[in-house]
């Protein structure tokens, strides 16, 4: 599973990364977690507000920090889809 966090260095982006790592850790699912800070890359996902969360190429949220339950849900679904 590949998880990307889109955003460059603002507090919210860091918090999202921490949240994602926490969820992945708790669920015990092997996932590659990347932080994308280059704007050209970020824009390829079609979002206009950071932080963005992308799981296996699909954008799950943008412009806010989703609640933990939602992140858990997405990770589990992505795992099931593999």
């Amino acid at each position: 599973m590949n998880i990307k966090i889109l955003g460059s260095g603002c507090a919210n982006c860091n918090r999202l990364e921490a949240l994602v790592r926490e969820v992945v850790g708790e669920l015990g699912i092997p996932a590659e977690i990347e932080k994308v800070t280059d704007y050209k890359e970020i824009m390829r996902y079609g979002i206009m507000a950071t932080p963005g969360l992308v799981i296996d190429g699909s954008v799950k949220s943008a412009g806010r920090i989703p609640d933990k339950a939602a992140v858990v849900q997405w990770v589990i679904s992505a795992q099931a889809a593999q």
Binding site: R44, Y45, G46, T50, P51, S58, G63
Partner: protein
Amino acid sequence: MKTVQAPVEWQFDKVMLAVKLAAAGFIWAIVYWFLEPVTGAIAYGLLGLDPASHLGSAVGFFLYDVPKILLLLSLIVFLVGILRSFFTPERARVALGGKREGVGNVLAAMLGIVTPFCSCSAVPLFLGFVESGVPLGVTFSFLIAAPMINEVAVVLLFGMFGWSVAALYMATGLAIAILAGWVIGRLRLEHWVADWVYEVRMGEAQFMEDKRDWSNRVEYAVQAVRDIVGKVWPYIVAGIAVGAAIHGYVPEDFMAGIMGKNAWWSVPVAVLVGIPMYSNAAGIVPVVQALVEKGAALGTVLAFMMAVIALSLPETIILKRVLKWQLIAVFLGVVGTGIMLVGYLFNAVL
């Protein structure tokens, strides 16, 4: 996945939500109503301070203003949160794409106020707008209005100076956003946007918006209150403490010489000092109020406040990635001048 709910359940949820909101509103109103008498009783009755003394007047001011401002702030952030839940940057982009200047500037400034915006989103937003054919000047109108006319500033101004000042701040802020954006557009400065910006190809917006119902909106608004008030309250307390000290201890008219109406040079100086500073409105406004009380001209301090909020160093640093320094300089110059004019106008009128 939303399952279809039976009509009775659906109605019940909505009614419960309405009841909770009404109850919360009721409690809020009661607390607000009794704030002045209760805090007065604490300061002058319980603590036995003399309202005419320096300490008494400072403490009275502090005890009353802190909860008052926090209450007002919570209410307005909540209401604005509900309003904001209807807007997204994607919608703004669609609404503004291809609009010509003039109309576009007005629409952009208004959308800038109601669209949720955090300064770290400035770049993706800018890129998205450019890609959609939103004219440069129109984009700037959006980017000027968004941070400047924030609900925290407006609430604090309302709480400290009343309706007319808060409304005037909003109106002139809007005017500056529209005009400065329009001027920048007219100057045809597209060549001062970083080259790579025009090469960005934005992916298809595959992100589907959540369907939002009222309980989502309320959740969103409550979360906004938690986030904003949670982040801002130490600044408010500190600012009010400073304001209280000035209120209690600094003699009347002390500031009149330096920042009073007759010191014409005070407006440009205030703006120049304000530009490199960055603070959220929460910290600045209580200080502003105390300064005004001591004779500083309202126009000068409002200009200072606008310069601090609207032209922030962090945002400029972020924008530097997409704009060449010449354009940043023009941006600062045009907006700074607009703010100065507003400062003079306020001094003349208020």
